[in-house]
C-alpha cells in the first residue's frame, strides 16, 4: 500500500513517545510508530538500536517507562503477551517457542484460554487445515515439531498467531533461518495476509529485505527514530547510512595470496547428531595456510556437527581429521586446543562465554593454563588484567570495565570478546561458525576484517555461514553442504549466488 493511501485510512496501531530505560542504557527514547491496515512496516536498525525492546513492549514482555499505545484508536495497557493476543497482536520470535515432542495442533492451542478440559483435537486440526490452505502455509497439524524443518516450524509459529486471531503480526528477523526459496514463500504469505487487511511489522537489519518485503520503513538508531519513509522512495545505501550514521564500506580489501601448506585435511568424515542419526555422511576437504574455506548451506544440514567434530566436541564415527599431517581424529577438546585449533562457536552465550563471569575472566579462558596468566597453578590477577586491557583495546570491545560481567555486553561485543580470545590463542586453524549472525553492520564489518587479518597471518580458516554475501566477500573457496555431504567446492571468484542456491537445495554440482 502506498504511503499516501495509508495515511488516508486510520492506523490500526499507534505508539506515542515510548521510552524505556535499562540501567545505563536508553533502549527507546520517545519513539513514535504508526501501523496501517494492510501494510508491511520494516523496522530497521543495528543490534542494540532498540527494535526488539520496542516490539517486546508491544507484546507485553516489557512495560514502557513512558508513552502510550493505542489499538484501533483506543488507548490500551498491554501487560502480558496474553493481553497482546487479545488485542490481535502476535509475535514470531527469533527463537521459536515450540514444544518439540508435541504436535503442530497441540502447539497451536497450547496456552489458549477457554480451551475445554479435553479439547477436540480433530476439530482443531480441521480448523488449522482450513487456515493453512487459505494462507498457503502448508503444515500437517498432526506432525510432531521435531519432525519439521526450521522453515516449517516458522510456518507453525505464524499459523499459531493467525489461529489466535492476530491482526498485527510481528516478525523478528524471520529470514535468518530460511533458504532463499523459503524466504520467497514467506514473502508470498505476507502478501496474502496484507491483502486481507492484516498488517505486519518486520524486524531486520538487512537492507535487501526491507526493499523486498516492506511498503514503509522506520529506522531506529540508539533508541531513537531517525527516519521513516516509503520503501520505494529510498535506497539500500541511504538506509545503511541512516542505520549506522555513517557511510558503510561494503567492499572489504582482500589481498591475493598464495595458499601455503595444507593445515587441515578431512577425509570421509562421518558423525551422528543428538538423535543418533547420521549428520555427516562422508565429508572431504582441505584448508591451506592463509586460506578461508567457506561452508555454505541451509541450517541443519550438518554444519554444527562438522564444526563440533573438527574441534573435538563430537565423536567422528568414521573418517579422519589431520592437522598438519597428524591424525587428531577423536582426540579430546583440550588436545584439539593444544594442537592449535580455535573455535568461534555458533552459540555465543550458551557455549562461547560464561555470562556471570567478568570480561577479563572470559578473555583468560584459553590462556589461563599457562604463564603469564597462571604460575604454578595459581592465577595471576595483574597479568590477567593487563591482558584483558590489551584485548579490550585491540579488539575495541565496548565494556564499562574489565570486571563487568560479560552478560551485560551487547551481541557485537560478546562476539568481539570471543574473537579476541580465540584469535589470540589460535595456533593455525580457526573454525568460525556464523561469526556475524545477528551483529549490526559496524560489528559485522569489524569481525570480517579480523578474519581477513588472520588469513593474512597465514591462519587456515573454516568459515561456516548462512550469509552468501559474506562467503563471497571473505572466502577463497566455498563448499556447499547439503544433508551431511559436500555438494561441491567452488572458488569464490567463480561462484554465483544462483549456483550456490541450487547446490544448497541439493542439486548435484561440480565435484
Amino acid at each position: 500500500m502506498d504511503q499516501e493511501q495509508a495515511q488516508t485510512s486510520h492506523p490500526i496501531l499507534e505508539m506515542h513517545g515510548i521510552c524505556k530505560r535499562f540501567p545505563g542504557v536508553v533502549a527507546n527514547d520517545h519513539v513514535d510508530l504508526a501501523l496501517y491496515p494492510g501494510e508491511v512496516l520494516a523496522l530497521l536498525g543495528e543490534n542494540g538500536a532498540g527494535k526488539s525492546t520496542l516490539m517486546n513492549i508491544l507484546v507485553g514482555l516489557y512495560r514502557p517507562d513512558a508513552g502510550r499505545i493505542a489499538v484501533h484508536g483506543r488507548e490500551v495497557a498491554i501487560n502480558s503477551p496474553r493481553d497482546a493476543a487479545a488485542l490481535g497482536i502476535g509475535m514470531v520470535h527469533q527463537n521459536f517457542c515450540l514444544v518439540e515432542p508435541m504436535t503442530v495442533a497441540e502447539n497451536i492451542v497450547l496456552g489458549l484460554s477457554g480451551l475445554p478440559f479435553v479439547p477436540d483435537m480433530d476439530q482443531i486440526a480441521r480448523r488449522i487445515r482450513e487456515l493453512s490452505a487459505h494462507y498457503s502455509l502448508q503444515v500437517d497439524p498432526k506432525a510432531y515439531i521435531w519432525q519439521l524443518s526450521v522453515g516449517e516450524q516458522q510456518r507453525v509459529e505464524i499459523l499459531k498467531q493467525i489461529y489466535r486471531g492476530a491482526e498485527i503480526l510481528i516478525l523478528d528477523e524471520p529470514t535468518a533461518v530460511l533458504t532463499p526459496q523459503e524466504a520467497q514463500e514467506l514473502a508470498a504469505i505476507l502478501q496474502r495476509m496484507t491483502a486481507e487487511g492484516k498488517s505486519a511489522i518486520f524486524i531486520t537489519h538487512k537492507m535487501e529485505e526491507v526493499m523486498a518485503y516492506s511498503q514503509r520503513v522506520m529506522v531506529l538508531r540508539q533508541g531513537r527514530l531517525v527516519a521513516e519513509c516509503a520503501t520505494r522512495e529510498t535506497s539500500p545505501q541511504e538506509l545503511a547510512r541512516l542505520m549506522v550514521g555513517r557511510e558503510v564500506l561494503f567492499h572489504l580489501k582482500r589481498e591475493e595470496r598464495q595458499p601455503g601448506e595444507v593445515v587441515l585435511s578431512v577425509r570421509g568424515l562421518e558423525a551422528r547428531n543428538e538423535k543418533g542419526l547420521p549428520a555427516l555422511r562422508g565429508i572431504d576437504f582441505e584448508i591451506a595456510e592463509g586460506e578461508i574455506l567457506g561452508i555454505a548451506g541451509v541450517a541443519g544440514n550438518g554444519q554444527r556437527e562438522l564444526a563440533e567434530t573438527i574441534t573435538g566436541l563430537r565423536r567422528a564415527t568414521r573418517g579422519e581429521i589431520r592437522l598438519r599431517g597428524r591424525n587428531v581424529t577423536n582426540l579430546s577438546p583440550l588436545e584439539f586446543i593444544q594442537a592449535g585449533v580455535s573455535h568461534i562457536p555458533e552459540d555465543r552465550v550458551e557455549m562461547g562465554l560464561v555470562g556471570n563471569m567478568a570480561v577479563a575472566e572470559n578473555l583468560a579462558m584459553k590462556g589461563y593454563r599457562r604463564s603469564p596468566l597462571a604460575s604454578r597453578g595459581v592465577l595471576q590477577p595483574k597479568p590477567m588484567l593487563d591482558f584483558a586491557r590489551r584485548m579490550i583495546d585491540a579488539f575495541r570491545i565496548a565494556t564499562p570495565s574489565p570486571h563487568t560481567q560479560v552478560k551485560f555486553l551487547s551481541g557485537g561485543n560478546l562476539q568481539k570478546t570471543i574473537l579476541a580470545r580465540e584469535i589470540t590463542a589460535c595456533g593455525g586453524l580457526l573454525v568460525a561458525v556464523h561469526p556475524t549472525r545477528g551483529l549490526d553492520v559496524g560489528a559485522t564489518e569489524a569481525v570480517r576484517r579480523m578474519l581477513l587479518a588472520e588469513r593474512a597471518k597465514g591462519t587456515a580458516i573454516l568459515l561456516i555461514s548462512e550469509d552468501l554475501e559474506e562467503l563471497l566477500a571473505v572466502a577463497d573457496r566455498i563448499a556447499v553442504i547439503f544433508e551431511g555431504r559436500i555438494m561441491g567446492i567452488l572458488p569464490a571468484a567463480q561462484a554465483g549466488i544462483e549456483t550456490l542456491g541450487l547446490l544448497m537445495a541439493g542439486a548435484a554440482g561440480p565435484a
Binding site: 540501567p23 512495560r63 490500551v76 490481535g88 592465577l379
Partner: protein, 365 residues
C-alpha cells in the same frame, strides 16, 4: 493496580546480602506465631535461646562445638553445589569418616606409634569420607546417574553400617549393654581449645580459607567455577568435566569425613549413637544461606549452631521442645529460597489505565 515482577538488569548486591538476613527475620516472625500458639512468650523464648547460645563463655563454646561439624559439612556441600552437583550425602560421608577414624583408633593403636596415631585417625576419616563421596561422583561423571538419589541413599547405608558396628562386632564388652564402642586410647583424642570446643575449629577455619583461595585464585578453582556456571562452555574450553566433578567431590567428601573424625576424636571419644544427628542435612541450609561463599559458611554455621544450642536451652529452662531450634532452621530455608527471586527480579506495582479486553476476537476468514 497490581504487583508484577520484572527481571533486573544486574544482580542486586543489596538483595544478595539482605535476603539471608530478611529470611532469618521472617523465620523468627513465623516461629513466634508457632510459639504463641503453644502458649509461650516468643520474645522471652528468643531471649532465652540467645542467652543459651551466646550468653556466656561456656554457652558459646558449646555453640562452637556444634558449629564445627556444620562448618566442615557446610563447606563440603558448598563446593559440591558450586559444581551443580547436589550432594545431599554429607551426613553419610561424615558418618563413614567417624567409622574409619574409630577403626584406626580402636584396632591400630598398638601398631601405630602414639604420636602418629591421631594424624592417622584423622587422615583415615578424611579418606573414608572422600571415598564415600567418590561413589556417586564416579556414577554421575561417567554414567550420568542422578546424584541426588545416590548421595541420599548412601547416607542410610553409611548410618546403618555404623549402627551395625557399634551394636554388633565393635560393641564395648564392658559397656553395660550400651550401644557404642570402647573409648579410644588417649593418643587418639583431639586436643580441646576451650570447653568442649576442639581443634576441629582450626581445621574448619583453615579449610574455609583454603577453599576460598582455591576458588578465587587457582587454575583449578577457575575451572570449577566455569563448570558450575556453564558446563557447555567448560567442555568447549577443553576442561575435563568428569575428572573435575570427581576431584571436587573427593574434596567435598574429605571435608565431611574430617567432620566425622573430629566428632568421634574430639567429643565422644568413641563411635556411638549420636554421631549422625543431621549435621550433613543442616549443612545444606548453611551452604545456601552463605550463598556458597566459604568464608560466609563459618559465620552462618555459628548462627545455625546457636539455634540448636538455644533450642536445647529453652527445653531445659522453659520446658519447651528443643525442636524449636530445628523448626526455626527449617523456616529459614523457605524465605531464603524465595529471596533468590528478589536478587534477580524487582517488584513493580503497576497502575493500569484500562483493562485490555480478555476475550479473544473470533477469527474471520
Amino acid at each position: 493496580m497490581r504487583i508484577t515482577f520484572e527481571k533486573r538488569q544486574s544482580l542486586s548486591y543489596q538483595a544478595t546480602i539482605l535476603a539471608p538476613i530478611a529470611s532469618f527475620a521472617l523465620a523468627l516472625l513465623g516461629g513466634s506465631l508457632l510459639l504463641g500458639l503453644s502458649g509461650a512468650n516468643p520474645l522471652a523464648t528468643y531471649a532465652a535461646m540467645l542467652d543459651g547460645a551466646f550468653g556466656s563463655w561456656p554457652n558459646f563454646t558449646e555453640t562452637l562445638v556444634k558449629a564445627i561439624p556444620l562448618m566442615l559439612t557446610g563447606l563440603a556441600v558448598s563446593i559440591a553445589f558450586r559444581m551443580q552437583f547436589w550432594n545431599i550425602g554429607a551426613e553419610g560421608q561424615l558418618t563413614l569418616g567417624g567409622v574409619a577414624a574409630a577403626w584406626i583408633a580402636l584396632f591400630w593403636a598398638g601398631i601405630i606409634p602414639s604420636t602418629l596415631l591421631l594424624p592417622t585417625v584423622i587422615l583415615a576419616g578424611i579418606a573414608a569420607g572422600a571415598l564415600w563421596a567418590a561413589v556417586p561422583a564416579l556414577l554421575k561423571a561417567y554414567l550420568r546417574v542422578d546424584e541426588t538419589l545416590t548421595t541420599l541413599m548412601l547416607n542410610y547405608v553409611a548410618i546403618l553400617f555404623s549402627q551395625y558396628l557399634f551394636y554388633g562386632p565393635w560393641r564395648d564388652p564392658k559397656g553395660y549393654g550400651f550401644p557404642g564402642t570402647a573409648p579410644f586410647p588417649d593418643a587418639a583424642w583431639l586436643p580441646r581449645l576451650a570447653g568442649r570446643a576442639h581443634l576441629g575449629l582450626v581445621f574448619a577455619i583453615i579449610a574455609a580459607i583454603a577453599l576460598w583461595f582455591i576458588l578465587k585464585r587457582t587454575r583449578w578453582g577457575f575451572e570449577l567455577r566455569i563448570i558450575g556456571e556453564n558446563p557447555t562452555a567448560a567442555r568447549y574450553l577443553g576442561i575435563n568435566i568428569a575428572r573435575n566433578i570427581v576431584l571436587a567431590l573427593l574434596l567435598s567428601g574429605a571435608l565431611s569425613g574430617l567432620a566425622g573424625a573430629c566428632e568421634v576424636t574430639g567429643i565422644s571419644h568413641r563411635l556411638q549413637q549420636g554421631l549422625s544427628i543431621g549435621y550433613g542435612f543442616t549443612a545444606i541450609i548453611v551452604a545456601w544461606m552463605a550463598q556458597l561463599n566459604p568464608l560466609a559458611v563459618l559465620v552462618v554455621a555459628i548462627l545455625m549452631a546457636g539455634l540448636l544450642v538455644g533450642g536445647d536451652q529453652v527445653q531445659i529452662m522453659m520446658h519447651l521442645p528443643a525442636a524449636v531450634g530445628v523448626v526455626l532452621q527449617g523456616m529459614i530455608l523457605f524465605p531464603m529460597l524465595a529471596g533468590a527471586l528478589f536478587t534477580e527480579y524487582r517488584i513493580k506495582i503497576v497502575r493500569e489505565p484500562r483493562r485490555a479486553p480478555t476475550t479473544a476476537p473470533e477469527v474471520e476468514l
